[in-house]
C-alpha cells in the first residue's frame, strides 16, 4: 500500500521515532514515500487539527486558572498543571519553527566514509547504537502510557472538590467539581451526563498526546546523542589496530598476513593485582614487550621478503596510509554532528529548564503541605518524579557524551603510539589537543547539559523544601 521511502543515515535508524512523531501531530512532513499534493494536504490538516485541539484545551485550563486565582491553593495547583503542559506547547511550536534545522541534523550522517579494514567494527557499533535507541524509545513510550493510566486511575480516588476560602467565616469550604483528570473550564456543563463523558474523553486524548509530543522530541535528541557516543566508541576501538598498521609503514618486513588480520580479541590486557607489585605480570605477551615490531622478531616480523622494503603491495600500503585519514575524517564528522545537535536543540533545552525550574519551586512548596497518604500526596509526588525524570533524561545522555568525547584522549594514549610512525605520533598529538575539551551540548550557551545540572536542580528543590518546612 505504501511504497517504502528511501532513507539513509540517521533517518533510517530513527524511523520508528519519526513515524511516532508524525502520528502524535508534530509538523514533520518529510520522509514520506508519497509526496503528492493531496496526501501532503491531508497530513498538514492532521497536524493542524491536533495542534488546534491541544491549544484549545490548554486555553481552557488557563481560563480555569484565571477564574480561581484568588484561592492560593487552587492557584498554586493550577499553575503547576499549566506549566506542566507548557512543555508540550513549547515543543510543538519549537519544532514547527525549527523544522529545517531538525532536517539538517538528521541529514548530517547521510554520507559517511568507510575503510575496508574497519567496516566490521563500524557495523558492530552501529548495531549497538540501534538497539540502544530502540530500547530508549520503548521505555519512554511505556512510561508515557503508564503515566496517563495512573493519572486517570488516580482521578477516581478521593473527593473531587475544590477548596474555596470563604470570605466571611475565614474557613475553607468545599465546592463540588467534576471528577475529571484535569481542572478546566468548559462552555458546557460537565458535572454529569453527555458533557461529562465528552470532557473525560477529550482530557484523556489531551493527556496522551501532549505528553507524547514533549517526550518524543526528547527521545529524538537523546537518540542523536546515543549515536554520537557509539561512533566515538568505534573510533576508540580502532585506535589500537590503527597504530599497529601505521607501524608497518616505516619499519621493515612485517608479516603482512598476520598484520591484516585485525584482531578483535583483547587477551593481552592483564590488570595488575594491587598487592602484587610484580611488574612482569603485566607485560606477559611478546606484543607488550614491543619486541614484535622492532628488533628481536616475533610473529609480526617476517624476514623473508625480498624486494619490497615494507613487504606490502601497493594496495596494502595505500590502505595503511588511508587508515589515519579515515579516523580523522570520521572524528571530524562526529564533531560536526554534535555541533549541529547543539544548534538545533539548545534553545528548546533552555526553555525546558526555565519552565522546569519554576515548576519544581512551586512543587517544593506544595510538598510541604502533604499530610498523609492520600490523593494529594500521590499527585504531588507524581508531578515531582515526572519533572525530575524529564530533566534526568537528557542530562544523563549529555553527560555520557561529555565522558565519551574526553575519553578518546585516554584511548589514544593507551594504544602503543610509541611504535607508530612519526606521522601517527603527530596524529595522536593533534587528536589529543582536540579531545581535551569535551564535546558538550549547551542550552543556548547558558548552561551545559550534564549530570552537574541535574544535581544542582535536585539540590535546589531539596533546599527550598527544607527551608519552607522550617518556616511553616
Amino acid at each position: 500500500m505504501m511504497t517504502k521511502v528511501k532513507t539513509q543515515g540517521l533517518v533510517t535508524d530513527l524511523m520508528p521515532c519519526i513515524r511516532l512523531l508524525q502520528a502524535a501531530g508534530h509538523f514533520l512532513f518529510n520522509y514520506h514515500a508519497d509526496t503528492s499534493g493531496m496526501n501532503m494536504l491531508l497530513r498538514k490538516i492532521y497536524s493542524s487539527a491536533h495542534a488546534v485541539l491541544i491549544v484549545v484545551h490548554y486555553i481552557c485550563m488557563g481560563i480555569n486558572m484565571a477564574q480561581y486565582k484568588d484561592e492560593v491553593n487552587e492557584l498554586t495547583a493550577n499553575t503547576i498543571t499549566v506549566l506542566f503542559f507548557a512543555h508540550s506547547i513549547i515543543k510543538l511550536a519549537f519544532f514547527a519553527f525549527n523544522s529545517k534545522s531538525f532536517y539538517r541534523t538528521l541529514a548530517v550522517w547521510n554520507q559517511s566514509n568507510s575503510h575496508p579494514l574497519f567496516t566490521e567494527s563500524d557495523a558492530r557499533y552501529h548495531q549497538i547504537s540501534l538497539s540502544k535507541m530502540r530500547r530508549l524509545l520503548y521505555f519512554i513510550c511505556g512510561m508515557t502510557v503508564f503515566s496517563v493510566i495512573s493519572w486517570v486511575t488516580l482521578t477516581f480516588f478521593g473527593e473531587s472538590v475544590r477548596m474555596i476560602a470563604s470570605k466571611e467565616t475565614n474557613e475553607t469550604l468545599t465546592e463540588p467539581a467534576p471528577r475529571l483528570p484535569l481542572k478546566a473550564w468548559y462552555p458546557f456543563k460537565t458535572m454529569s451526563g453527555g458533557g461529562y463523558v465528552f470532557a473525560f474523553i477529550y482530557q484523556i486524548y489531551f493527556l496522551l498526546f501532549s505528553m507524547a509530543l514533549a517526550n518524543l522530541l526528547d527521545v529524538i535528541f537523546c537518540s542523536w546523542l546515543i549515536f554520537a557516543c557509539e561512533q566515538l566508541q568505534h573510533l576508540k576501538a580502532i585506535m589500537k589496530p590503527l597504530m599497529e598498521l601505521s607501524a608497518a609503514l616505516d619499519t621493515y618486513r612485517p608479516n603482512t598476513a598476520e598484520l591484516f588480520r585485525v584482531s578483535s580479541t583483547d587477551k593481552t590486557e592483564k590488570v595488575p593485582d594491587a598487592v602484587d607489585m610484580d611488574i612482569r605480570g603485566i607485560y606477559s605477551t611478546q606484543q607488550d614487550f614491543g619486541m614484535t615490531l622492532r628488533g628481536a622478531g616475533g610473529k609480526l616480523q617476517n624476514f623473508n621478503a625480498e624486494n619490497n622494503p615494507n613487504g606490502l603491495t601497493a594496495k596494502q600500503e595505500m590502505l595503511a596510509r588511508s587508515a589515519i585519514k579515515y579516523w580523522v575524517e570520521r572524528h571530524k564528522h562526529v564533531v560536526r554532528l554534535v555541533a549541529s545537535i547543539g544548534d538545533t536543540y539548545g534553545t528548546a533545552l533552555l526553555f525546558h529548564m526555565l519552565v522546569s525550574t519554576i515548576t519544581l519551586t512551586l512543587l517544593a512548596y506544595q510538598a510541604t503541605k502533604i499530610n498523609g497518604i492520600n490523593v494529594y500526596a500521590f499527585s504531588t509526588i507524581g508531578y515531582l518524579v515526572y519533572t525530575l525524570g524529564q530533566v534526568f533524561h537528557f542530562c544523563i545522555f549529555g553527560n555520557r557524551l561529555i565522558e565519551e568525547s574526553s575519553s578518546v584522549m585516554e584511548a589514544a594514549y593507551s594504544c602503543q603510539w610509541y611504535d607508530g610512525s612519526e606521522e601517527a605520533k603527530t596524529f595522536v598529538q593533534i587528536v589529543c589537543q582536540q579531545c581535551q575539551k569535551a564535546m558538550t551540548i549547551s542550552g543556548a550557551k547558558f548552561f551545559n547539559v550534564s549530570l552537574d545540572l541535574f544535581a544542582s536542580v535536585l539540590g535546589a528543590v531539596v533546599t527550598y523544601f527544607m527551608v519552607l518546612i522550617q518556616l511553616k
Binding site: V335, Q433, F446
Partner: protein, 378 residues
C-alpha cells in the same frame, strides 16, 4: 576602515554630546579642538552639578518614601553615568589607541568584507535604537509635568533648585534644563554601553574571520599554487599559517585593554535590583526600571560570552582543516598553535569577574535571594 566604521556612529554621538575627544587627525584647526575641550569640560560639570542637586533633594526628602524611591533610582543611574563619563574623560588616550588599532590592516581584509560590513551595520542600528529608546523615555518624562502645569496643578522636580517655578517662564527654563541634562545622561549611558559592546562584538567578528582563515588554509595554499606554480606547496602553507598566527596575536592583545568600570556596572546593577524591590514603588515603573538594568547587564554579559565561545571554537576550526597529508613540520606548528588556542579569551570585568551568561544568571539569582531575605526580615 571597515572595522573602524563599526564604532563610527557611537563616536559621532559621543563627540556631539561632548563626552569623547575629537580624533587627532580631524583637529585641523586648533581653535576647534580647544572649543571642543571646553565643551567637554562643561558637559561633565553640568552632569556633576545635576547629580549634587539630586543628592541634596534626596537628603531633604529622606522621610517621604514615595519621593525618595523615585529619586533614588535616577540618582543611581546618574552615578553610573558620571562614572562612565569620568573614564572617558580621564582615559581618553587609551580609548583613542583602541580606536586606532581597529584600523590595522590585518583586521580589514577585503575577502571577509561581507562579515565586517554586516557587523558595522548591525552595530550602528543597535546604537541608534538603544539611544533612541533613552531619548524617547526622557521625552515622555517631561510630558507629564507639562500636562500638570497646563492644568494648573503643582509640579515638583526631583532635584534641589531655589528658583520658584510656578510662573510659566521659569517653569519652562527649569523644565528645559532638566530635560537637557536627563537626555544627555541617558544618551551617555546607552551609547557608552553600546560602544563597549561593539568593541567586544568586533573581537568576535575577528575571531570568526580567523576561524574561516584556518579552515580554508590548505585549499587557499593549493589555489595559490595554481596561480604561481613555481612555489613549493609546503612553503605557501607555512606562509599563510604565519599570517594567521599574527592575526590571532593581535586580536588577543586588543582585548587585554580592560575597562575597569565593568565591575562597577555589574555591582551597581545587582544593588539597584535589590534596592528597587525593597523600596515601595508602583508596579509598572518597577518593571520598567528592572528591565533597563537587566538590558544593560545582559548586553555586557552576552557580548563577553560571544567572544569567549568564538575563541573556544578556534580549536575545532583548526582541527577541521585538511592537515592529514601535510608535512610533519607543519603539523607540529599546528600543535603549538593548538596548545595556545586551547585557552579561550575571557573578557573580565575588573580582571576578576568573567563576562558571561553564567555570570548574568548568578547575579540574578543572588539579587533574588537578597530580595527574598530582605522581604522576610522587614
Amino acid at each position: 576602515s571597515l572595522s573602524g566604521s563599526s564604532v563610527f556612529t557611537h563616536l559621532f554621538l559621543l563627540r556631539c554630546c561632548g563626552f569623547c575627544r575629537l580624533s587627532r587627525s580631524s583637529t585641523a584647526r586648533r581653535g576647534l579642538s580647544v572649543a571642543h575641550e571646553v565643551y567637554r569640560a562643561l558637559t561633565l560639570t553640568l552632569t556633576v552639578v545635576y547629580l549634587l542637586q539630586e543628592c541634596v533633594y534626596a537628603y531633604q526628602e529622606r522621610t517621604d518614601m514615595d519621593k525618595l524611591s523615585r529619586v533614588m533610582f535616577l540618582l543611581l543611574c546618574h552615578i553610573t553615568s558620571v562614572a562612565k563619563q569620568l573614564v572617558f574623560y580621564l582615559d581618553a588616550d587609551r580609548i583613542d589607541y583602541l580606536i586606532a588599532t581597529l584600523d590595522d590592516p590585518s583586521y580589514n581584509e577585503m575577502s571577509h568584507q561581507r562579515l565586517l560590513v554586516d557587523a558595522s551595520r548591525w552595530a550602528s542600528r543597535f546604537v541608534w535604537a538603544y539611544s533612541g529608546c533613552a531619548v524617547v523615555t526622557c521625552t515622555l518624562w517631561i510630558v507629564f509635568p507639562i500636562i500638570y502645569h497646563v492644568q494648573g496643578q503643582t509640579v515638583e522636580f526631583p532635584f534641589w533648585i531655589q528658583i520658584d517655578y510656578t510662573k510659566s517662564s521659569m517653569f519652562v527654563v527649569v523644565l528645559l534644563y532638566s530635560y537637557y541634562v536627563t537626555t544627555l545622561v541617558g544618551i551617555a549611558n546607552t551609547t557608552m554601553d553600546a560602544f563597549m559592546a561593539t568593541i567586544l562584538g568586533q573581537c568576535k567578528t575577528q575571531f570568526t574571520i580567523l576561524r574561516i582563515k584556518f579552515e580554508t588554509l590548505p585549499t587557499r595554499a593549493k589555489q595559490a599554487l595554481r596561480c604561481d606554480s613555481e612555489q613549493n606547496y609546503d612553503e605557501v602553507l607555512m606562509r599563510l599559517f604565519h599570517d594567521c598566527l599574527k592575526h590571532y596575536q593581535k586580536i588577543v592583545s586588543a582585548i587585554l585593554i580592560q575597562f575597569g568600570i565593568g565591575a562597577w556596572i555589574l555591582c551597581m546593577a545587582a544593588y539597584k535590583i535589590v534596592n528597587l524591590s525593597v523600596l515601595s514603588i508602583e508596579f509598572a515603573s518597577m518593571i520598567l526600571f528592572i528591565s533597563c538594568i537587566l538590558t544593560e547587564l545582559f548586553l555586557y554579559c552576552y557580548y563577553g560570552n560571544e567572544v569567549s565561545t568564538e575563541s573556544e571554537r578556534l580549536v575545532t576550526s583548526i582541527y577541521s582543516m585538511e592537515w592529514v597529508g601535510a608535512r610533519l613540520g607543519f603539523q607540529r606548528g599546528l600543535l603549538v598553535l593548538l596548545e595556545r588556542a586551547r585557552r579561550p579569551v575571557r573578557p573580565a570585568a575588573g580582571l576578576v569577574i568573567p563576562l558571561s551568561l553564567q555570570t548574568f544568571l548568578k547575579i540574578i539569582k543572588s539579587s533574588y535571594t537578597f530580595y527574598a531575605v530582605l522581604r522576610q526580615t522587614k
